[in-house]
Symmetry: C3
Subunit: 132 residues, 3 copies
């Protein structure tokens, strides 16, 4: 397992980490199988979606904020209940195929780290899975 560190800069933000993951795969020499992109934080998540037009990431964040408002009323008193809920809805990991040392993503797909309670220093853990 490899770990990368991400510094987020806003309260809520989608950070494109596709390049960092590709770099980790290159350095480890991993060729074929799958990588699990996992974040150990309860107010963050991982998404695979379009990273070409930045308006897509903005719309994802804005809509999650409409569905689960940070200003809503919650019983958890730390002010970040919305972030825990967004993290639970999106999920803490994504599993992606790798072939010949390359992430097998669709033309428009990239990997985003989702910060819902930043800015903070965050971790992403990358596991390498064997394919049959």
């Amino acid at each position: 397992m490899q770990k990368i560190t991400i510094r987020t800069r806003a309260r809520q933000e989608l950070v494109d980490i596709t390049g960092e993951i590709e770099e980790v795969i290159r350095k480890t020499g991993f060729k074929n199988g799958l990588v699990n992109i996992f974040t150990p934080h309860t107010t963050a998540a991982v998404i695979v979606n379009e990273n070409y037009d930045p308006s897509v990431a903005r719309d994802i964040l804005n809509t999650l904020e409409k569905i689960v408002p940070s200003s809503g009323t919650y019983t958890h008193l730390e002010g970040n209940a919305h972030a825990h809920i967004k993290s639970s809805i999106i999920g803490s990991s994504r599993l992606i195929p790798v072939q010949d040392g390359k992430l097998q993503l669709g033309t428009w797909q990239g990997v985003f780290f989702c910060e819902f309670d930043g800015p903070r220093t965050r971790q992403v853990w990358i596991s390498f899975l064997k394919e049959e």
Copy 2:
């Protein structure tokens, strides 16, 4: 990794692909482990849920449409922002156990390809993972 092609017929639709995946597993001779069902599209997703009563798939689509309306206001200008958001919420893959060459699903579970911006020709990629 094996690839299957799906032709969707509606703007938004859940297509039951359980049979196609079982067929791929049969053809490859894969016996034990897990399969990752991954779609490389940013306006599509994969769900595991009830495929017995078709009203369940309808309710899933209708409710997602209420939560993330296709007629909403978004910054992404291609008219399919809602589809990117639905794809991000549901997720681009599902991981399912296989034993003796059979998908290990619950009695009522099936695998659905979720089309949120069709009709289109789509791909689903099936990876075969080793179990310890």
Copy 3:
């Protein structure tokens, strides 16, 4: 694959199953790789999130209920359409790294079984994946 049985006690409930999963890992002697925590039910799901302050689990359930009300109007006539939809949104499994026989979770992360149509006797299936 190992199976554990869970008895839920409420209509909707998040049950912390972190200890049960750690116990299964200990008994099998599995040391390094990943575990897939999968539920074969169409009205249940698996979440990784904070299990320290119980108010987080309560907020997750309450917010899901606001987004997908159990009292809403659906075409599925069994009265549990909301549970199928919540299950689809959250997802039927989570994939978690294991090192030296221990779940690699963040400080505040635990694993929850999500009951959306209880109380019932439920199953969780744990698969052990090889890492490269």
